[in-house]
Symmetry: C2
Subunit: 680 residues, 2 copies
């Protein structure tokens, strides 16, 4: 009788194995992705499979009921103690006796796939750098003396093919007691950056340790620091937290922090200490939220802009403040994580810092590229990560370009007269009736329009406190579409617009969105200055995108992805009305949410993607906006608010108003904004 045929599903891998071979061994032999932490000892139960019985016409086999060895005592014990799902077998126990079809359920695959929440169909395949390995270690023999560590290494090489392994001096004291406590069986947490480089022992537990191990994907922004705590085996996000970046006290934007470092001896060290303390706090807070031990965090990945990158690493960012904007280091870094977040996570935890693309285009942009994969896009995609700086990527399978653009903090509600950060009570949605010029709005934390019944009650605790970044964008765009603002960005006078909501403030006008002064609340207006600030920010953003389009020699893009926490809230229609982004069909403008954070999470869960992002960054063509004369030209040219209606007819059922112009009246500004100022 010939050797039995085994067919694994869903992979379809098949082959003949000697009768009596365990399913786990057969899977290894045929390269089937079947998990095991205990190496086949019937301890970890990770290798559960579902064998089939009967006719499998698709595969051309009939599986007899006795195709596998009988349910054995190890399985019975496991079933009693922990419960084994109906029809499941332990792959390390069940032996193949006759032709068989064996299904590997998703949770038994090492390279499980994690479905991302966004509409995007890409999935993250699990391939974490740090995993658990159970081994039996040979006991010491004084007649063939060798160290306990050397025997542990030997077992790891034999059982798990881990040939080379580095061990930190700090782990050695616990080695002997752990081996003896586990009666020469130990579970090791081992970091394997890739198969070419030495592995690294991170921790040891006596006997079988089930885990889970955790990882932290960190998006270190100028303003906020966000982290996802993930299960390193399943990929599950167990908690997501955010804290303010404490460096804000040294300067709101990046360049003011660079200046702080330049002007204050030791200022960089001060900022490094502050951000590392915040990272440590965040790690602890996230672990608390997820109800896991912070010491179970063995991996972190970090994405951030170049200035934050340098400050987190303890490097003075002074060179980033002046041409040629030289990074101290640009490649991805692997480090001990404890340095970056002292006393917060496992002391042996490893950090992977994503590579920077250029002096102004950081690891956050690299993470966005990893998440959004422009290099795999068949159509030309523009990806904009809007924050205090905007990171812009443009490309497709043929080529990818990147730049950053100094949009400033206006999009985040700063430098806006009634502006505030996105927080409950902040106006985030605005509509203005083109006929009556009356507004309605929504605030963060409430789904009702302010004109709806119950709004006052629903917002009783927060009130209406101001306007956030997405709110001011909508307000300005709506003012433009309602004929209150002309192409140059000028607000029309009370008379010209015919609404009492427009009032004069000195030589310019402002539009009243909301007046709560009677109840002791704020008066929320959009001033001429606010519109100028938004114009500067959006011109910078547009100019950056335009510069990349020039470089590629194109005038339009196929689709646009808005990334960043803020990008998730921008209304694409309003962004296009303002000319923040190039025109594109509205259904081709999507939000990627916090794509940088997603990129950090991908790198956290899959070590191959760490190599991929390095390769991707090497291939990206960098464009430096700061010294590019065309950037200035585009910037100036982009100052106007191009559209009096939504740019694509399907976006708006409203008949366009006649194009207004409020410039003739000598109201102090012309179509090009800042450049020329009429005197006297």
């Amino acid at each position: 009788m010939s050797d039995p045929l085994v067919i694994f599903t869903p992979s379809g891998k098949r082959g003949h194995v000697a009768a009596g071979t365990s399913v786990l061994e057969a899977a290894r032999k045929l390269g089937v992705d079947l998990d095991s932490v205990c190496g086949g000892r019937g301890i970890c139960s990770k290798c559960q499979v579902s064998p089939g019985v009967g006719e499998f016409s698709k595969h051309g086999v009939t599986v007899a009921p006795d195709a596998l060895s009988e349910w054995n005592s190890v399985e019975a014990r496991y079933d009693t103690v922990r419960g084994l799902k109906e029809g499941r077998r332990l792959g390390c126990q069940a032996q193949i006796l006759k032709d068989v079809v064996i299904d590997v359920p998703p949770e038994s695959q090492v390279h499980k796939q994690v479905i991302r929440k966004s509409a995007d169909t890409r999935v993250i395949a699990m391939d974490p750098a740090t995993r658990l390995y159970l081994v039996d270690v040979t006991e010491p023999d004084m007649h063939a003396p060798s160290g306990d560590l050397e025997r542990l290494r030997k077992s790891l090489a034999e059982t798990w093919d881990i040939k080379e392994m580095e061990v930190d001096l700090n782990l050695l004291p616990s080695l002997q007691p752990t081996l003896r406590a586990g009666k020469w069986q130990v579970t090791c947490a081992i970091h394997r950056p890739d198969d070419a480089r030495p592995a690294r022992l991170l921790a040891l537990w006596p006997g079988f340790f089930e885990g889970p191990l955790h990882g932290l994907a960190i998006d270190l922004g100028s303003t906020t620091i966000a982290a996802h705590l993930c299960d390193l085996e399943t990929g599950e996000v167990k908690a997501s937290s955010g804290v303010m970046n404490p460096q804000i006290r040294f300067g709101e934007d990046l360049m003011s922090r660079v200046s702080y470092a330049m002007m204050n001896p030791g200022g960089d060290v001060e900022m490094t200490t502050a951000v590392r303390a915040a990272l440590a706090d965040l790690a602890r807070a996230t672990a608390t939220e997820a109800q896991v031990d912070p010491a179970s965090i063995f991996e972190i990945t970090l994405v951030c802009n170049p200035v934050m990158h340098h400050l987190a690493l303890g490097i003075d960012p002074v060179e980033l403040g002046q041409a040629p904007f030289a990074l101290a280091t640009s490649d991805a870094l692997e480090l001990p994580a404890a340095t970056l977040m002292p006393e917060a996570i496992h002391p042996q935890a490893r950090a992977f810092v994503l590579p920077c693309i250029a002096g102004h285009v950081g690891a956050d942009a690299a993470a966005v590229a990893l998440s959004e994969a422009p290099q795999l896009s068949s159509d030309l995609v523009l990806i904009v990560d809007v924050g205090t700086n905007a990171e812009i990527l443009l490309g497709s399978t043929s080529r990818v370009l990147a730049c950053s653009s100094p949009t400033g903090p206006a999009f985040e509600g700063a430098q806006i007269s009634s502006g505030q950060r996105a927080a409950p009570g902040a106006i985030e949605r605005v509509e203005i009736d083109p006929a009556t010029k009356e507004p309605r709005f929504k605030v963060i934390g409430c789904d009702l329009w302010n004109t709806d019944e119950g709004f006052d009650l629903a917002t009783a605790t927060t009130g209406v406190t101001g306007i956030c970044g997405s709110g001011i964008i909508e307000a300005v765009a709506e003012m433009r579409m309602a004929g209150l603002v002309d192409r140059s960005g000028l607000i029309g006078s009370t008379e010209a617009t015919g609404t009492p909501r427009i009032t004069a403030q000195g030589r310019t006008f402002e539009y009243l969105l909301h007046d709560a002064t009677a109840e002791g609340g704020p008066r929320v207006t959009v001033t001429q200055g606010d519109i100028r600030a938004i114009q500067l920010a959006k011109s910078a953003l547009y100019a950056g995108a335009r510069l990349l389009m020039d470089e590629l020699g194109v005038d339009e893009v196929d689709r646009i992805v808005l990334a960043g926490a803020f990008g998730a809230h921008i209304s694409p229609k309003h962004a296009m009305v303002l000319g923040m982004i190039p025109d594109a069909p509205l259904d081709k403008v999507t939000s990627a949410g916090n794509a940088a954070g997603t990129g950090a999470r991908i790198a956290l869960l899959n070590r191959v993607e760490r190599r991929n992002v390095q390769e991707l960054v090497r291939q990206i063509h960098k464009v430096e906006t700061a010294v590019e004369p065309r950037f200035q030209e585009h910037f100036v040219a982009a100052n106007a608010l191009p559209h009096a209606t939504a740019p694509f007819p399907q976006l708006s059922a409203v008949v366009p108003l006649p194009e207004p112009s409020f410039n003739a009246g000598g109201s102090g500004a012309d179509g090009t904004g800042r450049r020329r100022r009429r005197r006297g």
Copy 2:
């Protein structure tokens, strides 16, 4: 005209190179060992050569006076500033134009040879792991952005073939300022463990930094810690210092320290802290003595016994105190040195800890093996490193065996009634006239015998304070040869020996060496107890050696090497009289001095030897004395003092006395010492 022929001496390497090739380039092409730190920029002057002129009949060439390009401005400037020896050229400047013979002087060779002080002819070839490398780094270009570190790496790969290099996070802050201060030229201290593994950047200096870098070879003994500070380029020993091991307060011998760790929670940590502080002090003291900056120390090597090994590494040595004497780790270790000697040397310095051979045979024995190379000996050599424990190696090219033997501290003067450590005033040499039974002796710090004129004056400051290890060995051996002690180790009575220097002490007798009680000094005697202590120690030593001889199936050895600081002072003749070591022709007994320290120095200066010692340790067959029944048998059998005269006639002109026996009188001990005790 064909390409000129260049012949290098002393290597004899030869080949044709294109006319105009520099001597340095030619040397690299032909694999000639010619040093250069600056990579051919005419800065470091390490590549000095002596070109020949005239007839070289041996090589079959005639060298024309214009065989090399003319003395150039770089050489002229160097000569003016620093001086260039007569006839020397800079290899990177002189170009080969015609056939030429070029001598590379020893100081221009990378792999210089260091002559060891001992009579031994072996030399240490210089091949330090850490060296200096000068590179020019490309300036940053914002249009092709990359990190400063990445450009440094590129230059190192191009100029020095350093393909992979790890950089500690702590070095990154200084990278950008250093590159700019050096105008994009920097000298790097780089550690290259071998060519297969990544290099590691240890330090950076702007521009050309001449060095020197230093290394510290440390022999961490139970009682004393000794260190040699060496120049990592020339190998020169610039200072040698020693301090007491502060762990002595936790126990004189190793097992009492293991007990301390077992009995006192945290006792191991306490001992680790103490020994690391002592290592740091020693490093600073040695640097001070050598008048060098402690921060110029970039490498250390460490040899020690297993207990000290574990305590220095921060590992509880408890497992070493009980069978199966399991080491936590036995292989050689590479670590950051700063952990072992906090805040004493360069913070990036690297440590290499030699491998342990077995639970009782440490890295010190491995270092002795490296230094004495029994595996290269064509005759059978017994190497004994005598200290509180004796490390014993036996072997030749065919096989090498090792064991350790618990000799206890008697050989160091402890547990001896008038014993003391080797210090000025201690009796170290003894002779007893076989006829008169009168002694004469020398003390440490004075070359005169006590019977010589001027002895009292010469020793006025120290006096005669006691007897040290080598003194008690000589005293006992001389007593044996003078007929005062019988084969069983028993001291004869006053009557039997016929000398008033023998007096009764209870049921046994003692021999008076020196009486200074009249001047308030000590009475230095050799008691029956002293002889028993020496018998125990020497039996242990002999039994260990004998056990290895059994294992090899031999009854004698061809030569004996006495190693260890103490081994240097033992008189081979007296050692053999006592039966400490197997009989061998006296001219075949040599002292290797501090062979463990020499081994540490070899590993410090030559990275290939680090691999060699690991390979050697793997090949050594370990014999565990603690559980070997034959060890007990040999130990008991070795109790007697075998020789009434020096065992080889040429050692002694004296006619042997009749063999005495003091046992008949019922003096309380018989020939086998401890084992049987006559009652009543």
